[in-house]
Symmetry: C2
Amino acid sequence: MRLLIARCRVDYAGRLAAVLPEAVRLILIKADGSVCVHADDRAYKPLNWMNPPCTLREEAGPAGERILRVDSPRGEGLTITVSEVLHDSSHDLGVEPGSTKDGVEAELQRLLAEQPEVLGAGLRLIRREHPTAIGPVDLLLRDAVGVVAVEVKRHAGIDGVEQLTRYLELLNRDPILAPVRGVLAAQQVRPQARTLAGERGIACIVVDYAALRDADEPGDRLF
Amino acid sequence: MRLLIARCRVDYAGRLAAVLPEAVRLILIKADGSVCVHADDRAYKPLNWMNPPCTLREEAGPAGERILRVDSPRGEGLTITVSEVLHDSSHDLGVEPGSTKDGVEAELQRLLAEQPEVLGAGLRLIRREHPTAIGPVDLLLRDAVGVVAVEVKRHAGIDGVEQLTRYLELLNRDPILAPVRGVLAAQQVRPQARTLAGERGIACIVVDYAALRDADEPGDRLF
DNA sequence: CCGTAAATGTCGTCG
DNA sequence: CGACGACGTTTACGG
């Protein structure tokens, strides 16, 4: 990994065209050839970048300035014109062991599958990830009245309502299942989603992740 | 901006839980307090990060190791346990002038507003960003037959069709405008979106950004 | 400050 | 390899 702090101008041409006027920035050149240009704010997003695979060439400009030219086989090009180098160092980082992540949405679905009564009294699980032609329904439940299709989301927006609506349309064409009711279960439901769901007779249920997890493994709260 | 190359372990607890086992990584501490941890690959995405606003504290661990503790008011926490520092430097980058981008959706909308006939013979512009209760319609056009609502996207997916469908439902409730036809104009239309649009009588038009720009400023192609 | 839509989104997964 | 959906999406913009 090479770290460059330099006064530079940056030109990107590819999926769009972007220009960064001259200023001091961090230029990060990674072992896989990828390059990104960072300002002194916004942790996550670089000002400009080039994803691997790409090739890096270093040239001398007409006025003696250094030009870094990064090209990708996709026809994208990033040109960094360096007028002043304030820092330049290289480092060997070795292998990255990778991270282990404990996802929330999958966990939420698992917990709701084990505690379906949270979504309504008398509800029992038929199956998780019920397959349909247009994709799997997160949870399929039933009670004395009939079948319920559940869409599980961490943050439910309009797209979640639309998704569930498409599933319900399809499921309700099956005379054995119909009528199927819809439930949108999420940690947070956006107002627009709540309104649209209301118009379509879909219930919105806000679920408490911590409470579900505590109910699943009561011992955890002791630590 | 502070650059740290260090052997470290990273723990994130917040919207999910993630652990990075000990390895050598780049730790980037920016002027706005944000922190991100990068491996030697993947230009764009940090292994772990904390967005502003957040606060950074530096502590000494039980075995004398340095611990960077980053906390956000949203209840997220990032803990970096440093066992060995290989590089440590700070740099003043000054102000970032910001970038100018060309070729984003707004640009596409502007060009289509100036050349509506691209979307259909005889079409003329009524207005851009036509306001409705559920948000602005990108373009409202008319021809001899009636009114056309246009949703402009760079890449049109199902959500674009849904968005336009909502607008059409609303516009068609207005007896003065109705009947309003729908057009989805995009540089790329996903198959699923094309199918759904077809079912709903919405036309999909693939637009050529370069051609639109050339027609807008013919001189450009000479350079 | 909240809500909404765009993004050079990026990243995994599955057909 | 392409389509599709999730993401600790992040980021910008408007009420």
